[in-house]
Every structure is written in structure tokens, then in C-alpha cells.
Amino acid sequence: QTVTNKVIQKGNPKTGKGQGRQQMIIKQINSPRSNTQRQGKTRRKTGKCYRLTILCDVSVCNLYSPHNMKQVIADNEFLGRGNLGNGVQELMGTPVGDRNNWSISNYFYLQVLAACFYPALLEDDSLPLDVKQRAESLLRECDGGSVGSYTDSSGITKIKHCVSQFITRRDGGVPSSPDNIFIKSGSQTIMLKLLIHSKDSCQTGVLIPVPTYASFIIALEEQGAAIIPYHLCEEQGWTLQVEELRKALHTGRKTCNPVALYICNPGNPTGHIQSRKSIEEVIRFAAEERLFILADEVYQSCVYGDDTEFYSYKKVLSEMGSTICSTVELASFNSVSKGFMGECGLRGGYMELVNLDPAVKEYASRLFSARSCPPVVGQIALDLMADPPKPGDPSFPTFSEVGVQAIKNTICKNTGRIQEVFAELPGISCQPLKAGFFVFPCLHFSLKAIKWAKKRQMEPDMLYCLRLLEETGLHVRPGCEYGQRKDSHHIRFVHCHCCELLHVCEW
């Protein structure tokens, strides 16, 4: 009786049937015991003929981080050599490229972070000059010269400046003020907190795309928002269509009070990217319907499709004529977890507010301050992302050519290859991949397979994922966790590192 909450009563989209089993298999395979006894009993008993589960389910982060790379390649090699049972029929090219190159690519920021943690390294000759200079200048911004101090609750002022300059550069000169930047990972929840009335008799509604990633849905639920789903059009490359938005909004208005429109561009899990025109339409729609735009733009630097370019909502908004550009309220989110840094574990991110009522902004700051400061390490990572080495800096050549360029090439190669393979595989179709970390192909199951799943009271794609994991050690997520149209089935996986391909389902 004491511990109840609306969150508790509703189900968890992540713990659908099968999820527990999936976790158990992963635990079993990855447990240190089964690793040490790899050749022994455990292995024979479970009959698993692979060493590690490969997690393709989360955007496993600094895939590009040098030390990470070796591990992943090692795993892939193992898979390549090993007997994979019936599972994997095709092994795609591992992220090629000179491994040594991989391992020096992003050293710049790792070095800066290490020097900030342990400033004795500043005396060390082995670190490049620009690394030391950057570390010193960052430490000067920390009280007591230590990253162990609290910072201002919306972030270190200098880093906010650095981020606003980064935004201005990105948007071709559209001004950005550090006063509108709030550094925080998970700043979305702060915006939701402001927007959503938890107690009103009429629920606050938020429009969200289908498919979308599960943790945002939980965040909405937690705040007590009503979720108004709008479907992306898969047939047309997961485009966002205003007609669909309008339809969803009107349906939503019957039951709740919609105030915000959530956009994920480039899309997770869909890998699509909005055109400038589409963004304009959405903004106009938001203006007409009085909606606050929440633009999740964390994959903005991971755009690789031909002839595709990322336009930020802020930039498009600023170029849309005076009424709209001075009124439509927008919160845009970015983070160091995605893009070329991929430092998820550091928890660095920021939010930029556009056209927010100054009085509300005051309260936003207050909310931030009630949560103590964002992790300093994440703030530093953000600084390095916003202001990477420049031509002429000692760290520039390795950073840019070997690092960023090599990563881009690999991604292009991988995604190209994925699409080629999918084109040949019967039973799978995949929309063109243009941006982001994920592939979200559609699986066309046979009637038999669907019946089989139904008998087990499971979504067919969940069952598929379970089988895939059991037989190959590949851990991908079923589309039912993200939402999909009736009778369509998908899986989501990360394209960047592990490209072992799945066979068409045999059932």
C-alpha cells in the first residue's frame, strides 16, 4: 500500500515477454565463470559455441574509441573462425582499417581527460602540447583547479560559451547565446517536468514518433504525460508526414491537452534524416497548432547518406520569417554519447532553448540547480566535442585523418554492405540508411512463423531475437519495443561495429 505509483502499475515496454530470458542468456554467456571454463563443462553443457554475446542492442558507445575497437575486432574474428552453428550464415566485413590507426584516432580527448584527472601528467613529456594546454585551461575553470569540485549547476561558463560557438558554426552563423545553453545529460526530463502537469484532470499530451526508443517513453510516463503516437512512413524511408501529425494531434485532442511535439532527427531507431523542407513543414505545423518542439538531435554528426545533410531545427526556424522564428518554442538536445565521440559513459550533453519565456527560464535554472551539477567529466567531453583540434595543432593530423575520416569510411562501408546484403536476402527489407547508429530492417515472417510465435504468446520479432541470441550470440532488439505498424516486424541493431549478418529465419 505504501509503495505504489502510476509508473509501477503500468508495464515496462522493455520487459515484455522474452526480455528476461534474453538477459539470462546474456548473463550466462558473459559470466566470468563460463568464460574461464570456456573450453570446459559449462560450454559443453550449454552448447554455446561462441564466446561472448555481441551487444548490438544499444548504441554501444565509443565504438570508435581505440581501446574498444580491438576488443570488438577480436570478437568478430572469433566469430569468423569459430563454428557458428546454424546461426550466422554470412559474416560481414569487420570494420577494416589499420588497427594501429584506430588506436591512435581519438587519443586527443582521452589524453586531455587523463591529464585533468591526474594533473601530474602535465609534467609528462609523452603528452602533446595541445593536450596539455587544453587540460590546463579546463582545470583553470574548475574551482580549486580540480575536476572533483562542483560546478555551476547549468555547467561551466566557459564550456557553455564553447558550445554556443559550436552551434553558431554548425548553423552557419545563426547566433546562439550561452545563457540559453544548459549542460546536463538527460536534460529532456527537465523540459518535460516544466511542460507536463502531473496532477491536472486533463493530461498533458506529447506527440512522439512510432517507432521511438523506449527510455523516452518511460520518461514521459514517469512525468504522467499522455502519449500521442504518430507513425513515420516506412515505405518512404521513414519520413515524417505532416498529415499524419495532424491526424494524430486531432485524435489526441479528444482525450488530452497536447502541448509538445517530440522529434528525433536523425532518427533512432530508423536511421532516417529529415529534409530541410520537412523540417519547415513541421515547424509551421507546430506554430499553427501551438506546440512546443522538443528536437532530439543527438545523432547530428553521424550523417553518412549520399546527398544528405543535417539541418538543425534551430537553423531552419531562424530562417522562417519573423512571426514564426520569434515565437515557436524549441528545445534542442545534443550529447557526447553519439556522433564521433561516442562517449556514452561520460554522460555529457546539453540543451539549447529557443524562444523560451524568460520567466520560465528562471524556473528552468532553478530546477537545474536543485539537482546539483552535471558530471564534470561529461562537461569536459562536451568541450572537446565542441572544440576539437584545429589544423596546425599537434594532435590534429591523427585526430582528423586517421580518426574522424577513418570512422566515416568504415561507417559508409558497413552501411553500404548491410544494404547490399539485405537487398539479396529474401524476407528482409530495409529502408535506405542515412544517419544515426541503427539499422531497423523490416522482417517478413511466414504465416507459420507468426503462428508459432503466437502459440508461445510472444511477439514474432521478440521470438526471432531470442532465437538469434541463442543460436549465434547476436543480441539485437525486437521492433515491438519501439512500436511498429500492425503486422509489421522489425529488429534494431547497431551498424557500426558488428555486422555479422543474420540469416533469414528458417521457421
Binding site: 558507445c61 500521442i228 482525450t255 559513459g345 567529466v377
Partner: protein, 526 residues
């Protein structure tokens, strides 16, 4: 839209179709037809803001956080002015408002930072400048990170091996009482855990709304989170005359009063106390547990200052330990969440945002929901988790770093003990200031007697009298404190919170300045 029900397996998508509120519908239709009419006239309707003070979540308005309130904002401004060369009667701002040890010049523990550097940039593992035990720790942590990198997401509950180490630490600390890693959640500093648990516990409407009992004076994180969540704050007063101790009769009184208008189900304890610096006796903890059991309350024990105990005769007793020593009647029943972090004690690593909580006797289904709730923020910062690991798995006798580590740790803690004593002594020499012994934590919370005239002047300005006092203190001496009104205090009494963190010589200067100021202030307004 019915199809959506069947397409999407989780019920979340459907929730908006569950209820149909007629009133709201009518209102909406009006607005829609209004904007339609405007559009038909050819022009876009005049567009006001979606988010204004009127439309904003009303709970947010109640959120207040004194530790970073107006005094601190003014202090930041003054620092800027000083930098720009503006003349002031002082040369620097001394920030004694916040428990931020490193900002006050405390050096980080070398071993911790070595391991952190190694974890971040593993090429350093080949460097012979680093001791072997630091390298071993780093390797161990990296091995348990996804892709062997500290930049990877971890599981939402926290890295497995860190949770095991935390459990072992708790078991050692509590003299062998077992701790289960499954009950450990790593958090983004202790605040994250506290807010999460409060979130989980808040429910109901009107008289059934969750009530949360907090001590007065309290740490504003609690009042701010309670306001934000729209829970009901229930005050119980600590006994200033008895060194800020906790009386069960007062708990009983406040609980009974609260039952009239809400559903009290949480009792928060901060031990050692913030801002009051008291350390609870074992007996008192037992009494609190008995009370919680009797009244069916969920216990939240904020134990982030567990290594900060200075006064003779005082010792830290964890709620968990006492609970288990009270026998199965209690240990199998009373629900408890206990919090710890990397920010305080001898480490003072606030910026890393490392922490953990241990939950006991939580209903397994609720625990599953807790796990879900923490998954919203994906994971706590991995470096913070790594640092937490080092705190609970510090160098052991025989390891190369042991001696340096112990030397550094002891130096910090004994300096704090010395400063705690010094603060109490000097403050008590000032007429009009009385200060309880600083038994633990990092703060003194002295009571100040303010002249009637200053109280009236403050009230005329719409300020709390101790806010008025602290603001004047800041303007005249550069000392930044937090007024007692930000923490709550008995009606008609005034206090301030001051950290004991500045280096000893600076602390002495500060205390003497304060003494002078207080005398001057008293004269001026008498």
C-alpha cells in the same frame, strides 16, 4: 486508432485513450475553432507562448534550493566584479556555503586519480610511473566495462563488479552483515538516488497524497524534490538544545499532525547531519527503526558523511547494521534505502557524481519498477562508478599505494576534525552566536541573535532576517554562507550554515572576520 492497441504490445502508447474527459474536450474544441477562424481570415493566429508561468507545471514554482540561492548568485557576481577590478573591502570571496572540499583547496587522493587516468587512457598502463596496484584496479574496472572502455554505457543499475565491491564494503563496514549486490544501485551522486526513491514512493491525491517526514533543519534537496514531485512535506524538528538530537516524541507529534491531511509513508534521516553536524547515537537509531516499524514508514537513510565523525564518544552506526542487529522481527520487515556518495568524507570528489544506494526489504515487484525507473537515465556516469569502486575498494595493507593513501586520508580527516573543533570554539566566543559541537559532517549551524531593528528592516525588504544578515556579511566581508531559513528552523530563531572546509589558516581569518562583523552588525542595529 483502435489498431494501435493491437499493434503495439506495451500499454504505454494506449494510455491516452483510456479516459475521455468531457470538460477538456470542450475547451479544446473552442481553441481549435478559434484558431481555425483566424486561419480562415488568411493570417496566422497571433501566437502566444506555449510555455508560460501560467501553463508551466505548478509544482516547479515551489522548488527552492537555498544552497545555490540568491546569496550564492550574488557571490558569483561579486567575484566577477573583483576580477574586473571593482574595489571591495575584501580581496576574495570565501565560499563557505557548499560542501565542496576541492574548491576549498583539498587535494584529491593520489591513488584515486591515478586509477582514473589509467582507466581513461589505458596506454598509461605501460607507463612505469604508475604503481602496480593502481594498474591492477584500472585493469579490473576496464574489464568490467563494455568494450573495455570507460566511455561505454553501463547497465542502468551500475557496473556489476562495482556493485559487488560495494556489497563487500558494506558487509565489512557492518561487521559481516550480508549485503546483496542485487540490492545495490549505483547512482549519479546520492541526490539521484534520493530523488528516485522519493519518486517511487509518491502517489495518491489530497488526503491520500504521500507525506515525507524530513528533519528541520533539513538539506534543501529534500524539500526541493518533495515540492517538485508534489508530495507533502512533513516537518519534524531536531532538538537544538540537545545538540540537534532527534526525539521520538517529536516524530510522533509531527506524524500525528500530518495524518490529518496526508498519508505519511516515508521518514528521511540524515546521519551524520546536514546542516546540523550531529551524529546519531546507536540507541537513537534503534528508536527510529522501532518507530518506523510501528508506524509502517519507509526509511531513507542519507549516510553520505559516514566517514566524517570527529567528536569523541561519537561513532557512525549505519541504519542497516542496527536494523539487522535488532533481529528478524525488524530486519525482515522494515523497508530501508541507504545512500552514499563519492562527494564527501575524505574524498570530496563532488564533480564525478558517483554514488550508490542499497535497498532492503523492498517488494521484488517494486524493485523491478525501480530498475525500470533508473533505466530512464540510461546509466550513471561511468567514471563516477569507477571512482565509487575505488572508494569501497581502497588500497589494502601490503599494496604499494597503501601508505600514501592512508597518509592522505588521515591528513584530510584529522584536519577536518581540528577545524570542526576550532569553528565551534571561536564561534562560541562571540556574544550573540551559539554553536553546537560539530560532531560530524562538514558544517556548523550556529544560532545567531539578531537585533530587533535588523529583523524589522529585513521584513520591510521582504527578506528573511538571516538572509538579510548573510547578504550584508557577503557584501562587507566576502564570506558566503547560507541562511538558516534555507534549511528551515524554529519560528523566531535564526541561523546560518557554514562549512568547515576552508584551509585552517583561512578558516581562522574567516571566523575572526565573522566575529567582527557580528559585533558591528549588532551595534549598528541596536
Amino acid at each position: 486508432m483502435c489498431s494501435i492497441h493491437t499493434v503495439i504490445p506495451h500499454p504505454l502508447f494506449c494510455c491516452c485513450y483510456e479516459t475521455l474527459n468531457g470538460k477538456c474536450l470542450a475547451l479544446r474544441t473552442n481553441i481549435t475553432s478559434f484558431s481555425k477562424a483566424m486561419s480562415e481570415n488568411g493570417a496566422l493566429p497571433l501566437r502566444g507562448k506555449v510555455l508560460t508561468l501560467d501553463t508551466m507545471n505548478a509544482n516547479v514554482k515551489k522548488v527552492d534550493y537555498a544552497v545555490r540561492g540568491p546569496i550564492v548568485q550574488r557571490a558569483v557576481q561579486i567575484e566577477k566584479e573583483l576580477k574586473e577590478g571593482v574595489k571591495k573591502p575584501f580581496e576574495e570571496v570565501i565560499k563557505a556555503n557548499i560542501g565542496d572540499a576541492h574548491a576549498m583547496g583539498q587535494r584529491p587522493i593520489t591513488f584515486f586519480r591515478q586509477v582514473m587516468a589509467l582507466c581513461t587512457y589505458p596506454q598509461l598502463l605501460d607507463d612505469n610511473k604508475f604503481p602496480e596496484d593502481a594498474k591492477n584496479r584500472a585493469r579490473r574496472i576496464l574489464q568490467s566495462c563494455g568494450g573495455n572502455s570507460i566511455g561505454a554505457y553501463t547497465t542502468s543499475q551500475g557496473i556489476d563488479c562495482v556493485r559487488h565491491d560495494v556489497a563487500n564494503y558494506i558487509q565489512r563496514r557492518d561487521g559481516g552483515i550480508p549485503s546483496d549486490p542485487d540490492n545495490i544501485y549505483l547512482t549519479t551522486g546520492a541526490s539521484d538516488g534520493i530523488v528516485t526513491i522519493l519518486k517511487l514512493l509518491t502517489t495518491g491525491e489530497g488526503r491520500t497524497r504521500t507525506g515525507v517526514m524530513i528533519s528541520i533543519p533539513q538539506y534543501p534537496l529534500y524539500s526541493a524534490s518533495i515540492a517538485e514531485l508534489g508530495a507533502v512535506q512533513i516537518n519534524y524538528y531536531l532538538n537544538e538544545e540537545k545538540c540537534w538530537s532527534l526525539d521520538i516524541s517529536e516524530l510522533q507529534r509531527s506524524l500525528q499532525a500530518a495524518r490529518e491531511h496526508c498519508n505519511p509513508c516515508v521518514l528521511c534521516i540524515i546521519n551524520p547531519g546536514n546542516p546540523t553536524g550531529q551524529v546519531q547515537s546507536r540507541q537513537c537509531i534503534e528508536d527510529v527503526i522501532r518507530f518506523a516499524a510501528k508506524e509502517n514508514l519507509f526509511l531513507m537513510a542519507d549516510e553520505v558523511y559516514q566517514d566524517n565523525v570527529y567528536a569523541e564518544g561519537c561513532a557512525f552506526h549505519s541504519f542497516k547494521k542496527v536494523l539487522f542487529e535488532m533481529g528478524p522481527e525488524y530486519s525482515s520487515k522494515v523497508e530501508l534505502a541507504s545512500f552514499h556518495s563519492t562527494s564527501k568524507c575524505y574524498m570530496g570528489e563532488c564533480g564525478f557524481r558517483g554514488g550508490y544506494m542499497e535497498v532492503m526489504n523492498m517488494d521484488p515487484e517494486v524493485k523491478a519498477q525501480l530498475t525500470k525507473l533508473v533505466s530512464v537515465r540510461l546509466c550513471p556516469p561511468a567514471p563516477g562508478q569507477a571512482l565509487m569502486d575505488l572508494v569501497v575498494n581502497s588500497p589494502q595493507p601490503g599494496e604499494p599505494s597503501y601508505q600514501t593513501f592512508m597518509k592522505e586520508r588521515t591528513a584530510v580527516l584529522s584536519a577536518l576534525a581540528e577545524k570542526a573543533k576550532l569553528t565551534e570554539e571561536i564561534l562560541n566566543t562571540v556574544p550573540g552566536i551559539s554553536c553546537n559541537p560539530v560532531q560530524g559532517a562538514m558544517y556548523s549551524f550556529p544560532r545567531i541573535t539578531l537585533p530587533e531593528r535588523s529583523i524589522n528592516e529585513a521584513k520591510a525588504k521582504g527578506q528573511a532576517p538571516d538572509m538579510f544578515y548573510c547578504m550584508k556579511l557577503l557584501e562587507e566581508t566576502g564570506i558566503c554562507l547560507v541562511p538558516g531559513s534555507g534549511f528551515g528552523q524554529r519560528e523566531g530563531t535564526y541561523h546560518f550554515r557554514m562549512t568547515i572546509l576552508p584551509p585552517t589558516d583561512k578558516l581562522k581569518i574567516m571566523l575572526n572576520k565573522l566575529k567582527e562583523f557580528h559585533q558591528k552588525f549588532t551595534q549598528q542595529y541596536s
